[in-house]
């Protein structure tokens, strides 16, 4: 099948020798909402700018709808970009901004007018269409940028941290709008962010990047439940990583020998392994239970097998109906965990000994 966007072994080395993107492979289907997620400087913007044509591709091939576009200038590509600072034309009013891209398309006048009015209406900008853009709010200007890009009907919309400059409430509401709009138009969106929540809420697939490379490509949920590397496990959610060596394997459950004894997790991504090899267990905060120290340890071992580690409670914090707990293990490591307030209230005290415990199904193995 033909993909809307394909990157094949794409690499970018800047003139000053900085390798910004390394061996990037990605196939995007029409209508997908893709998010690039990663720490600052990992090459998200660079990748997006290569897709849009603002930066040249150093190695590899870039295909849009099956056609190699490496050498096409940005104005020839069926892509459109939304910038973090909106990049509106300050010397034009709202309508002129939106109309600008249509003027070179050779459309009849009234058809262009109809399209501009249509998109202004869809984004709720008709009332302010004759205003200069300078005095408008961030949210309004964000919508103008969207309207300006969408009116030229691109195949792929590229968004570089488009919500970065907005306050939290506005960000939420524009997120929803964006998702609805994308569903309705069926346009492929490639969205850059370093806010996890944004990527998780919006996208069909998340590409986690680190130091120029792809770490993992997964739907949002899987990123939580099946991190494939220590980097992703640290970057996404709030996980604890415990390294050790393989002792036994029983089906998908692997038991490791660790400083906390033999503990086990599930080998979800079928990593090949042998006895004595080093692996790690990823322990998501949601999977960990905190149990008061008075509880009988043998009873616990009945429930959780060997996945019980003694600890000391360092901090308890209630946020809404969630209790966030920080505990310190004997070797000094800390573990974050959380649970419903009702389950824990009154049973835990700061400074008291306790146990952390988990079911093997809740923890994931990584190489």
């Amino acid at each position: 099948m033909a993909y809307d966007l394909q990157l094949k072994n794409v690499g970018k080395v800047y003139d000053n020798g900085t390798p910004a993107v390394i061996d990037f492979n990605l196939d995007v289907e029409k209508g997908e909402f893709i998010a690039f997620l990663g720490p600052s400087g990992c090459g998200k913007s660079t990748t997006l700018r290569m897709i849009s044509g603002f930066e040249s591709v150093t190695t590899g091939d870039l295909l849009i709808r099956g056609q190699r576009v490496n050498d096409q200038p940005p104005e020839k590509r069926p892509t459109s970009m939304i910038f973090q600072n909106y990049a509106l034309f300050p010397h034009m009013n709202v309508r002129q901004n939106v109309r600008f891209g249509l003027e070179v398309k050779g459309l009849p006048r009234d058809e262009a007018d109809r399209k501009v009015d249509g998109i202004l209406d869809k984004l709720g900008l008709l009332d302010i269409s004759e205003m200069p853009t300078g005095r408008l709010s961030g949210g309004q200007r964000q919508r103008i940028a969207l309207a300006r890009s969408l009116v030229v009907e691109p195949d792929i919309l590229l968004l570089d941290e488009p919500l970065g400059a907005l306050d939290a409430n506005l960000r939420k509401s524009i997120q929803n709008e964006l998702k609805l709009l994308q569903r309705e138009l069926g346009i492929t969106f490639v969205f850059v962010t370093h806010a996890q929540s944004e990527a998780l809420a919006l996208s069909d697939r998340i590409i986690v990047m680190n130091a120029g490379r792809i770490e993992q490509i997964s739907p949002p949920r899987e990123l939580y439940t099946r991190p494939q590397s220590a980097f992703v496990a640290r970057f996404i959610g709030s996980n604890t990583i415990i390294p050790g060596t393989v002792v036994t394997t029983a089906g998908q459950t692997i038991t490791l020998d660790t400083p906390f004894g033999a503990i086990s997790g599930t080998n979800r991504i079928d990593i090949a392994h042998t006895k004595g090899e080093r692996m790690s267990i990823v322990l998501p905060a949601e999977a960990v239970e905190l149990i008061p120290g008075e509880t009988d340890e043998s009873e616990l071992r009945g429930r959780f097998g060997s996945n019980v580690i003694p600890c000391k409670i360092e901090r308890l914090q209630v946020i809404g109906h969630i209790m966030q707990m920080l505990v310190r293990l004997e070797n000094g490591d800390t573990i974050n965990t959380e649970g419903h307030v009702d389950k824990y209230r009154g049973r835990l005290t700061v400074g008291a000994p306790a146990y952390v415990a988990w079911l093997p199904g809740g923890a994931t193995m990584i190489a």
Binding site: D15, S52, G53, F54, P73, P74, E75, K76, R77, T79, S80, M81, F83, Q84, N85, Y86, A87, L88, F89, P90, H91, F100, G101, E103, V104, K105, P132, T133, G134, R135, S137, G138, R141, A145, R148, S149, V152, L158, A165
Partner: protein, 283 residues
């Protein structure tokens, strides 16, 4: 204690500054209303009159004092300044635009351009005329050799002004236009140029005024027909009458009106620039 001393010192300094800046002009202005045709270029004013202004425009009965031979020179200088302004500004904008991308030898090219305003004018003028006469073999005119010398001199100013402007220019609006499918040429005309226009105005003003009263380069490079500064200097060496002062007042007024036009155009585009600034504030 410091500031107690500082204030009067600053006041004196400013007063001296203003005195030296406007003093000559005020003296000139007063003396231009000297009685004519017998009144000389010095105090006291025998009787206030506008004789020398009328003399300038040939409205006085013929007298011993010949009218200033500046009519044609003025026209020449205005034309030359205009040609220089257009050429230097176009070159300046293009060169500064080229410098937005780092290219091989950018440093050397930069210094070669800027050299044009550093080299002593007499040298440039002399060199240009020697080159024209002995090497290339073209006749020297204000509109050939002097024009080239003026462009070499003013182009670096226009270039530096535009470089500063483009340095602060946020290229993402251009990228936004390209990504909408608008060609780079059209993007430059419709987006970049309108936004850098205040800078272009400044570059034009620089080039025009520098060329208009340029002396050392023109002296050697202009050939037979003189520009205004040369013509005025020529009259000094004979005999000075208050008609030169009247002419000075007229040219100063002309400069002010040039500045006023610049100010008005600038005001219009600054209003737009404020909008940009506001936009940046919010984002």
């Amino acid at each position: 204690m410091d500031s107690k001393l500082l204030k009067p010192v600053l006041a004196v300094y400013v007063a001296a500054f203003i005195l030296f800046l406007y003093g000559p002009f005020i003296v000139l202005g007063i003396l231009s209303f000297q009685q004519g045709p017998e009144g000389g270029p010095q105090f006291p004013i025998i009787e206030w009159s506008t004789y020398w202004y009328r003399h300038l425009f040939g409205l006085t009965p013929p007298s011993r004092i010949a009218p200033l031979p500046v009519g044609e020179a003025l026209l020449r200088s205005l034309t030359l300044a205009f040609m220089t302004m257009v050429t230097a500004t176009v070159l300046g904008v293009m060169a500064a635009q080229a410098f937005r991308r780092r290219f091989k030898g950018a440093g050397i090219v930069f210094y070669l351009i800027v050299l044009g305003m550093m080299v002593p004018g007499v040298l440039t003028g002399l060199g240009t005329s020697l080159l024209a006469n002995n090497v290339v073999g073209v006749e020297r005119h204000w509109w050939t050799t002097a024009f080239v010398a003026h462009v070499v001199y003013t182009f670096p100013f226009a270039f530096l002004v535009m470089l500063a402007i483009l340095n602060r220019f946020d290229g993402s609006v251009e990228e936004a236009a390209w990504s909408l499918g608008v060609s780079p040429a059209r993007t430059f005309r419709k987006v970049t140029f309108p936004l850098i226009f205040p800078g272009v105005l400044s570059a034009m003003l620089f080039a025009f005024t520098l060329s208009f009263d340029e002396f050392p380069r023109t002296l050697f490079a202009s050939g037979r027909d003189q520009t205004l500064p040369l013509a005025i200097y020529g009259t000094f060496s004979v005999e000075i009458h208050p008609n030169i002062f009247a002419f000075g007042v007229m040219t100063t007024l002309f400069s002010f009106s040039l500045l006023a036009i610049y100010g008005i155009l600038m005001g219009l585009s600054v209003r737009r620039a404020k909008k940009i600034a506001m936009q940046e504030d919010i984002s």
